[in-house]
């Protein structure tokens, strides 16, 4: 309980994403498309103690309410995360994380001869094969993309 008062104030309205595996907070912002110039107040807490996870990250976004799709994208990189919607300093909704059936556009197929990488109109599409560890399959060429690769792609784009 101490860490909350220690590091970040409560937010009035917005979203709190807690229990993110340590080191993945930036990736969470990335899948939400938050670059910092949107005007939201964003608090990032990284590598704090967590009874459940050992270490964890927390992201708080004032003024933004995640939609279903955004929530499900977070499960890709932070399956342990909890998403709480805040109004008037109170948690009004606890979102259950559920993987989307299809992930469009966010990832690149590892197969360089995949049509999704070779046609101006094609957008990458992946289906979930397995959740833990995460395994996705390209809808076009059926190449696998592993959890490691998903993380690598998402984190790589941030740097």
């Amino acid at each position: 309980m101490k860490e909350k008062t220690l590091i970040v104030n409560r937010i009035r309205e917005g979203t709190v994403i807690d229990h993110i595996p340590a080191g993945r907070a930036l990736a969470v912002l990335h899948v939400l498309g938050i670059k910092g110039n949107e005007g939201y107040s964003v608090a990032l807490v990284m590598n704090v103690e967590s009874r459940k996870l050992g270490k964890k990250d927390i992201v708080k976004i004032e003024g933004k309410f995640l939609d279903e799709r955004e929530t499900s994208l977070i499960t890709l990189i932070a399956p342990t995360a909890t998403v709480n919607i805040i109004k008037d300093y109170e948690v009004v909704e606890k979102r259950k994380l559920k993987l989307p059936d299809e992930i469009r556009g966010l990832l690149t197929c590892p197969n360089t001869s995949c049509i999704s990488r070779n046609d101006v109109e094609a957008v990458s599409k992946f289906r979930i094969v397995k959740t833990s560890p995460l395994l996705l399959k390209c809808e076009y060429c059926e190449t696998y993309i592993t959890e490691e690769e998903v993380m690598r792609q998402i984190l790589h784009e941030i740097r």
Binding site: I115, S116, E121, C138, E139, Y140, E142
Partner: protein
Amino acid sequence: MRRRSIIGALDLTKEEYEELFSVSDEFKRRGFSQSYSYLEGKVVSLAFFEPSTRTRMSFETAALKLGAKVIGFSGEEGISVAKGENLADTIRMLSSYSDLIVMRHKFDGAARFATEVTDTLIINGGDGKHEHPTQAMVDLYAVREVFSSPSNLVYGILGDLKYARTVNSLLRALTLFQPKFVYLISPPQLRARREILDTLNYPYKEVQDINEVISELDVLYVTRIQKERFADEMEYEKVRESYELTYETVTQMKRDAIILHPLPRVTEIDRRIDKTPHARYFMQANLAVYLRMGLLYLLLGEKK
């Protein structure tokens, strides 16, 4: 059979394979000189962005025999179409002229992508190293021709199992037919991809030496090992030689065992084998046109 695009070997159910085989049997029984009007007034487009002789000619013949008009491009023209315009635009253009498009393209997943930009039926005539479903239909049809059913047999699939689209399609199609056993015979660097192996529902084993298993096989399916898959020419030569099917190996086969090959072949089958009763790849090639007539008839034919 329901009207739908054929992108992969599992786009047909087992019952639909059986239906396809029996319709193809009927065309075969009536013989090659027969022509039909089931596809009269229909236009079949052949969009071969990548060169092909056999698949294109067998589809073209099948469509013409059924009374369809055939338009499209192939060879050098196909390559330049592929360069000049994006795939989606070419497919849209062809769909405004045709009732069905047979396409071959060098990129994996190109046929699936085409189905997203048009409502016109698409038949995948080979997309990169992904699938070539009508070849698998021909392969199983050939097996059935000899053994009366593709089920309950021991298969050996030899060669490049990693990049050969015909192998992907065949391994998947076999999941509908309960083969007794499948030996996947390849050098370690050309083993079948995990993505395919994970979907198999029959017993299989990966082996490196064909001589270990040759006497158990009912069907030996041979594919070519391509040079461009190897970084090192020496390595390629070594692998190629050890995966050429020799006459001596074939003498170890069961008496009624057969050898199939999607053709064209280069050096992967000793020519002396052609004269043995095991060699069925020419028969297999001859069946292709009836099978493709059967497929076009079921997808597009007006029953009259």
